[in-house]
Amino acid sequence: MTTLTRTSEDVAAGPTTARRRPRRDRLPYLLLLPALLVIAVLLLWPLGQVVAMSFHELGIRQLRGDQPWPWVGLANYAEILGDPFFRTVLRNTVLFAAANVVLTMVLGTLVGLLLNRLGRRMAAFVGGCVMLAWATPALTGAIVWKWLFDDTSGLVTWLFNQLPDGLSLALFGRTDWTGYGWFNSPLTFFAVLTLVVVWHSFPFVAVSVLAGLKSVPAELQEAARVDGAGPWRVFWSVTFPLLRPVFGILVVLSTIWDFKVFTQQYVLAGGTQDRSTFMLSIYSYAMAFSPPPKFGMGSAIAVVLTAILLVVTGIYVRMVLRQEES
């Protein structure tokens, strides 16, 4: 493989590369056309539809039959933005995403640093185990975590019951955890949801940080260490500045993903009944699909969620393109 690569570099350095024949000018567009057409139809149609729906009142009768859709203009938006509950949902979403991004980044980075200092075979083993958590379908992961927190036979309940009574009482004010409803209060619900989401997403951060670490020269960190810098100093004054673009992209990506969390919440909450833990995704879904269906309102929430995410995604795209340039 190395010889192959070297040959290619030699050839690339030669004079034959840059010339393109004019006949070829249409080729890129021909190759792109099918993909572009498919994306345009499949994305733009529903996208236009969701915006259109958000300006109408759409109940079960409009969806069923051929009843006309009553145009309500911006009324759906006005209702949502004026609703204190929407503000609660928005606050839940932002706080949840912030907490999850921070925890995912910290845990992922630590595991990435750990993988970087392991031997090759050990790194492959630990990395493989970590990637299994990433690969587990969101649904499966959520189901099993729900069982782990089961109030009678769950592993976590058992673990908490093993705590010395005094300690458990001092920390949490209870000694018997059997029958404790982890999913009943919003705070513990969000704590468990955070655990599930972080479990799913830290592997990606870990392997990305590891790939980043492999791409920067290790000598710099070594030199800092020789000069007597502790691990904390080495990370913040050498590693972090070198990997700043990687961390930037990972933070933005995690923000996007954590804003969209749906499956895990749907499973842990057992559907869309628990309004006190709603976040934007599930709120939009519940508005449209829980009886009585309000597709207009659901669409308006979806548009708001999309607008917020487009801003974040725009930042991500700019970062990626800038990194590709350099």
């Binding site: 690569t5 290619s8 050839v11 030669g14 034959t16 393109r20 890129p28 567009y29 190759l31 792109l32 993909a35 498919v38 994305l43 149609w45 529903p46 996208l47 539809q49 969701v50 729906m53 750990l114 492959a124 630990v126 990395g127 185990c129 970590v130 299994l132 958590a133 690969a135 379908p137 969101a138 649904l139 499966t140 992961g141 099993v144 975590w145 782990l148 009678t152 036979s153 592993l155 479990w199 990606f204 392997v207 990305s208 790939a211 980043g212 691990p231 990506l253 969209k260 749906f262 449209a288 597709f295 659901g298 669409s299 979806a302 969620l305 999309t306 995410l309 991500y316 795209v317 350099s326």
Partner: protein, 279 residues
């Protein structure tokens, strides 16, 4: 700080840390596997290793139409969506990686933008459109939305892979007397295949794992995929605890993904990180 790297105590500390990470990552996966092998009587005994091993849960799910149909739907829908996305994506990515044309950067940007788009926003319009067109609760009704998201993902990942291919080898082969077709078949195709394959795996995982579209755009066994069937699972009879059956079904849908990761870990990671780290 050199003392960290030497000494038995330090070694133990690092070993313990590895263990903590591995346990955290694996316990849920192993727990569900363990449940799937337990008998109904020992399901809730809290033992990590089943005291009585049984394959009954697997027998149950494979004998119900509900699950077998869903498995066929899952495989068929994910394979078709993956094939279409990868073929169209390969063409587009080839153009992006090899040819010069205006608007190339914009295209990469837009692909990324779409790949990150919140799926939940498209669920209600798709529901409405598909009911109108008669696509609701059919295979194409799921394949099409999957392609919407899988195709941009494929374009982006493939163009990252294709940029690393030493395309000039093709010319070198032709100079050595190979025809265009030979040069492509013997030189370029083997170099491009791993990237295409990895992208196919990533796209397949995306389709296979989807729950949101599958639960909103299907209503019967005709097109329900395994994740949705799983969430409706009630056991063979209504008096039976479905936990064991759900665990077995969850293991079945997780196994292909786990095999991919075990065999192609390095490729998948390099495909995944192409968006975050310059490969």
């Amino acid at each position: 700080m050199a003392s960290l790297d030497t000494g038995a105590a330090a070694k133990w500390r690092w070993g313990l840390l590895d263990l903590v990470v591995v346990v955290f990552a694996l316990v849920p996966v192993l727990w569900i596997a363990s449940l799937s092998f337990k008998t109904t009587a020992t399901l809730t005994d809290g033992n990590f290793i089943p005291r009585e091993w049984t394959l009954d849960n697997y027998r149950t799910i494979f004998s119900t139409d509900q699950f077998v149909r869903a498995l066929i739907n899952s495989i068929g829908i994910a394979l078709i969506a993956t094939a279409i996305a990868v073929v169209l994506g390969t063409m587009a990515a080839y153009a992006i990686a090899r040819l010069d044309f205006p608007g190339k950067k914009l295209l990469v940007g837009v692909s990324l933008l779409i790949a990150m788009f919140p799926q939940v926003s498209l669920v209600s319009p798709l529901f409405e459109i598909e009911r109108k067109l008669g696509l609701f609760d059919t295979w194409p009704g799921l394949i099409l939305p999957y392609i919407t998201f899988a195709l941009p993902l494929a374009i982006y990942t493939l163009s990252a892979f294709f940029k690393q291919i030493p395309w000039d080898l093709e010319k070198a082969a032709k100079m050595d007397g190979a025809t265009q077709a030979e040069a492509f078949r013997k030189v370029i195709a083997p170099l491009a295949a791993p990237g295409v394959f990895t992208t196919a795996i990533l796209v397949f995982i995306f389709c296979w794992n989807d729950f949101l579209f599958a639960i909103s755009l299907t209503s019967t066994e005709r097109s329900r995929t395994v994740p949705v069937a799983l969430s409706f699972f009630t056991g063979a009879s209504q008096f039976e605890d479905p936990t064991g059956a759900i665990a077995a079904a969850a293991v079945v849908i997780t196994i292909p993904i786990i095999l991919f990761v075990l065999f192609f870990q390095r490729r998948i990671v390099s495909g995944l990180t192409s968006g975050a780290v310059k490969g």
